[in-house]
C-alpha cells in the first residue's frame, strides 16, 4: 500500500461521483461546517464574559457572541454590503477578490499535484520561496527600466521568477519521491519549515531593508507592482492579477483535459500501473507535476509580493494551506478551484470584518477550514444520510463505494 495507491483510490472515488453529486457533497460539507461553526461560536460565547446588555439571547440563554451576526458579517461584509446600498468595488469586495486571486494559484497548485496522485502539502513553502525570489530579483531588475515600459516588462518577469523558483523548490520533493521513494506528504511539510527558516535568515540578513525595523526586503518601486485597474488602490487588488488567475485556471484545465502531458498526469493519478504500461515515464511525470505544482505556488508568492505587500516580509499568511482546502473542496477540478477560491476569498476577507464588528476571535475561520476538509473527506457520510432521506429501504450499490467494497478493495 503506497500513498499513490491511496491517492488513486481517493481520486477514483471522486471521479466515480458525478459532478452533480460532488457539488452537492461540497455544498453539504460547507453548510454543515458553518452550522458547527455557529455552535462553536455559541459555546465560545458562554466561555467568555460580557455585560448583560451586550449579550444575545437564544432559547432563553444569554451568549456573548452572536453566530447570526458573525456569519452575516462574514459573508455580507466580505461582499462589500450588497444589500445596504452604496455598494462600491473599492471596499471590502476588492479585498475578497484579492484573496480569491491568491487562493486560485495555491488551489491550482494543490489540485494539479493531486490529479497526478500526489499530496503537495508544500505549496506554502513554494509560495514563500517564489515570493522572496520575486522580491529580490524584480528589485534588481527595476533599476534597469522604469515607467510604463517597466511595468510591462517587470510584472511578467516577476511572475516568471516566482514560477521558476517555486517550481525548483517543488521539484525537490518530486525528485525525492521519484528516485528515493520518500513520502511527499512528509518531505513537503518539512520543506515548508525549511523555507520559512531560510527566508527568515535571508530577509533578516543579506536581503534586509536597512531602512525598516521589520524583516523585509527593500520595497519595490510603484511601477514594478500590479497596476490597479477600475478598483481603487487602497485595497491592493489588481484586476490584472485576477485575469492572470482566470487564465491560469483555463490553462490548467486545457493542459489536463486536452494535452498528452495532461493525459499522462491524469492516468498516473488514477492508474499508475496502467499508465506505466501505456508508456508513461512515471518518475518523470512525478517530477514534472510537482515542479509545475510548485510553479503555481511560486506565482502565488510573486502575486503576494507584487500586488499586496510590495515587498517580501517574513511570515506570509497561510495561503498555501488554504489552497489544500480550496482544492479538496473543488474536487481537484481547475474550474471548481475558481469557485472554491472565491468562497475562501470571502471567508478570509470576511474575517477582518468579523474582527471589527464582533469580539469573536479570527481563528474561527481556521477551524471552519479544518471542518470543511473533514466533511469533504467523508462523502460516504452524506451518501448515508442521503440514502436514509431519499430511499430508506434501498440497498447501497457497489459502484458508489458502498459496502460491497470489501477488504480486498478493487
Amino acid at each position: 500500500m503506497t500513498s499513490a495507491d491511496r491517492a488513486r483510490r481517493v481520486l477514483k472515488r471522486l471521479v466515480a461521483a458525478s459532478a452533480a453529486e460532488r457539488i452537492l457533497i461540497s455544498s453539504a460539507a460547507l453548510g454543515l461546517s458553518i452550522l458547527l461553526g455557529a455552535v462553536l461560536v455559541l459555546i465560545a460565547g458562554r466561555m467568555t464574559t460580557c455585560t448583560a446588555s451586550d449579550a444575545v439571547y437564544y432559547f432563553g440563554t444569554g451568549f456573548c457572541y452572536d453566530p447570526v451576526l458573525v456569519f452575516d458579517r462574514l459573508f455580507l461584509g466580505a461582499l462589500g454590503e450588497p444589500f445596504s446600498g452604496g455598494w462600491s468595488p473599492e471596499g471590502q469586495f476588492s479585498v475578497t477578490l484579492r484573496e480569491t486571486t491568491l487562493l486560485m494559484f495555491t488551489g491550482l497548485s494543490v489540485a494539479l499535484a493531486f490529479r497526478a496522485g500526489i499530496f503537495n502539502i508544500g505549496t506554502q513553502g513554494q509560495m514563500v520561496v517564489g515570493g522572496l525570489a520575486t522580491a529580490v530579483l524584480v528589485l534588481r531588475a527595476a533599476d534597469l527600466v522604469s515607467g510604463v515600459v517597466g511595468a510591462v516588462l517587470l510584472i511578467p518577469f516577476g511572475v516568471v521568477v516566482g514560477a521558476v523558483f517555486g517550481g525548483l523548490y517543488g521539484s525537490i520533493p518530486g525528485f525525492l519521491k521519484a528516485y528515493a521513494d520518500a513520502n511527499e506528504v512528509i518531505t513537503t511539510i518539512m520543506l515548508n519549515f525549511i523555507a520559512t527558516g531560510v527566508t527568515l535568515y535571508l530577509v533578516s540578513g543579506a536581503f534586509k531593508d536597512p531602512e525598516s525595523a521589520a524583516n523585509q526586503t527593500v520595497p519595490l518601486p510603484e511601477y514594478a507592482q500590479f497596476p490597479t485597474v477600475l478598483f481603487g488602490g487602497r485595497q491592493d487588488f489588481s484586476l490584472v492579477a485576477l485575469a492572470f488567475g482566470v487564465l491560469a485556471i483555463g490553462g490548467l484545465y486545457y493542459l489536463l483535459e486536452h494535452t498528452a502531458f495532461g493525459y499522462d498526469i491524469r492516468t498516473s493519478g488514477l492508474q499508475p500501473d496502467a499508465a506505466e504500461y501505456g508508456g508513461v515515464d512515471a518518475k518523470r511525470t512525478i517530477v514534472a507535476s510537482l515542479t509545475l505544482s510548485g510553479a503555481f505556488g511560486g506565482v502565488a508568492g510573486a502575486m503576494y509580493v507584487m500586488m499586496v505587500l510590495g515587498t517580501f516580509q517574513s511570515g506570509l499568511p497561510s495561503y498555501g494551506f488554504d489552497g489544500i482546502t480550496v482544492s479538496i473542496l473543488a474536487g481537484n477540478n481547475p474550474i471548481g478551484v475558481g469557485f472554491a477560491a472565491l468562497l475562501f476569498g470571502v471567508l478570509k476577507s470576511g474575517t477582518t470584518v468579523v474582527q471589527f464588528a464582533t469580539d469573536v476571535p479570527p481563528q474561527l475561520v481556521g477551524v471552519l477550514r479544518g471542518l470543511i476538509i473533514l466533511f469533504v473527506a467523508m462523502p460516504e457520510f452524506f451518501r448515508m444520510v442521503g440514502r436514509r432521506v431519499v430511499d430508506p429501504g434501498s440497498k447501497p450499490v457497489a459502484t458508489d463505494g458502498g459496502p460491497a467494497k470489501g477488504s480486498a478493495d478493487e
Binding site: 500500500m1 466561555m47 499508475p272 518518475k283 512525478i286 479544518g370 473533514l374 473527506a377 470489501g406
Partner: protein, 373 residues
C-alpha cells in the same frame, strides 16, 4: 510512489499475504533495511569521530562540539525535547499498525497541549490538567476514528483535517478565554531528582528529569511488551497486515482499529500535555508551540520501523540534534540562529530519502468492511 516494476505494489502484496507477519518484519525493498542500519552506524560513527576529534583538539570547534555533546545538560535537554515526539510516535505506531495512518498526530499534540494548560489553570491541579489534555486528544482521536472507520473518509485527508481543526481550535479557545493566542503561565510538572545517581556525569541526566520522561520510558517498554507479547498486539498487527484473516479468526477488525486509534490519542495526549506543562504555558502563534513535532514523530516511527524502541532511539537522534543546536545557539558560534533551527527538518528529509520507502502495514490506508452487515 514511483511504482517501478521491481517495486510495484504487487511485490508488497505477496509479502503481506504471508500467513505469518512475524516472519517478515522487514519485508520491504531490500535496500531499506541496510540503509537504515547505515544511517544508524553513520550517526554513531560521526559521534565517535566528533568525540575523538574533540578530545584530540580541545580548543577547536570540534572540542566545543564534543563538550556540548557530552554535557549532562544536553542529554537532559534531549530527553525533554524527545518526550512529545516519542509519545506521538508511539501513538502513531499503534494506529498505523492497526491499519489507520494517523497523520493528525500534530493536531492531537496541539489540542492536548492547550487543554492541559487550560484545565490546570481552572482546577489548579497539574496532574488533573495533564489528564485533561489526554482526554481532549483522545476525543479528537475518537472523532478521527469515527470518520475513517464508520464513514470511510480518506485517512490522509481526515488526518490533515484533524491537524487543521486543532491548529485553529486551540488558538481560538485561547483567544476566547485568555484574550490572546498564548495562555498565562501555570505551574510546571517539575522534576524528580534521584540523589547520588543524579550526580553521575552525563548519565546523571537520566536521574534528574521531569516525571514525563519516566512516563515515556514506561510507555516505550509497555508498547514493546504489548506488541511482542500479548494477543492484543497480535490483533493490532493482523488488523493492519491481513484484516481478512483477523476477521475470519472471529476478531472484530473495526473494534481493533478503534482501540488502536484511541491508544494513539491517549499517547499523543500524554506527549502534548507533557510538552506544555513542562513550560507551564501554551503558545499558539503561527504553527503553535508544537511546531511540527507531530510530523517529526511520523518520520521517527518510520525510521524506527514501527518498533517502539526503534522509534524512541530515532526520536533521541532528532531531539539530540535539536538539543545540540539550542546549546550552539546560546553559545553563538558557527551558523546563524535561523539556519541552525532548520537542521532537524533537514535531517528528517535526508533520513527519509536514505531510508526511502518503508514498508507500511499491508492494509494501512484501506477501509475494511467485514462481509456481514
Amino acid at each position: 510512489m514511483s511504482d517501478a516494476p521491481a517495486e510495484a505494489p504487487g511485490t508488497d502484496a505477496e509479502a503481506g499475504s504471508d500467513p505469518d507477519p512475524d516472519s517478515t518484519p522487514n519485508a520491504g525493498p531490500l535496500g531499506s533495511r541496510s540503509n537504515r542500519e547505515l544511517i544508524a552506524w553513520a550517526a554513531i560513527g560521526t559521534l565517535a569521530a566528533l568525540l575523538l576529534g574533540g578530545a584530540a583538539f580541545p580548543n577547536t570547534i570540534l572540542g566545543v562540539l564534543a563538550d556540548v555533546i557530552t554535557d549532562k545538560d544536553t542529554l537532559s535537554a534531549a530527553l525533554r525535547l524527545s518526550v512529545p515526539i516519542a509519545f506521538a510516535a508511539l501513538g502513531g505506531i499503534f494506529s498505523e499498525k492497526s491499519g489507520v495512518i494517523n497523520i493528525g498526530l500534530e493536531g492531537l499534540l496541539i489540542i492536548s497541549a492547550f487543554t492541559a494548560i487550560y484545565v490546570t489553570d481552572v482546577t489548579g491541579g497539574i496532574w488533573i490538567g495533564f489528564g485533561g489534555g489526554v482526554v481532549a486528544s483522545t476525543l479528537l482521536a475518537l472523532l478521527f476514528a469515527v470518520v475513517t472507520i464508520e464513514f470511510r473518509a480518506d485517512q490522509i485527508i481526515a488526518g490533515l483535517a484533524v491537524w487543521l481543526i486543532a491548529l485553529g481550535l486551540a488558538p481560538f479557545a485561547s483567544q476566547v478565554i485568555y484574550n490572546g493566542p498564548n495562555t498565562p503561565t501555570v505551574g510546571t510538572t517539575g522534576s524528580i531528582y534521584v540523589p547520588v545517581l543524579a550526580e553521575i556525569p552525563f548519565f546523571g541526566a537520566l536521574f534528574s528529569a521531569s516525571p514525563s520522561v519516566y512516563m515515556l520510558f514506561v510507555a516505550v517498554a509497555a508498547s514493546w511488551y504489548v506488541f511482542e507479547r500479548t494477543a492484543f498486539g497480535r490483533w493490532i498487527r493482523a488488523s493492519g497486515e491481513n484484516p481478512k484473516a483477523l476477521d475470519t479468526a472471529g476478531v472484530n477488525v473495526s473494534r481493533v482499529r478503534y482501540v488502536g486509534i484511541l491508544v494513539s490519542g491517549v499517547l499523543a495526549g500524554m506527549g502534548g500535555s507533557a510538552l506544555s506543562l513542562d513550560l507551564g504555558q501554551f503558545t499558539g502563534n503561527g504553527p503553535t508551540m508544537v511546531n511540527g513535532k507531530g510530523f517529526i514523530a511520523i518520520v521517527a516511527y518510520l525510521f524506527g520501523n514501527y518498533n517502539p524502541i526503534g522509534a524512541f532511539l530515532a526520536t533521541m537522534l532528532f531531539a539530540g540534534l535539536d538539543a545540540i543546536q539550542t546549546v550552539l545557539q546560546l553559545q553563538g558560534i558557527g551558523l546563524p540562529r535561523q539556519l541552525i533551527r532548520i537542521i532537524p527538518f533537514v535531517v528528517v528529509i535526508v533520513v527519509l530519502a536514505l531510508v526511502g520507502r518503508t514498508r507500511l502495514p499491508e492494509a494501512a490506508g484501506d477501509h475494511y468492511e467485514s462481509g456481514e452487515e
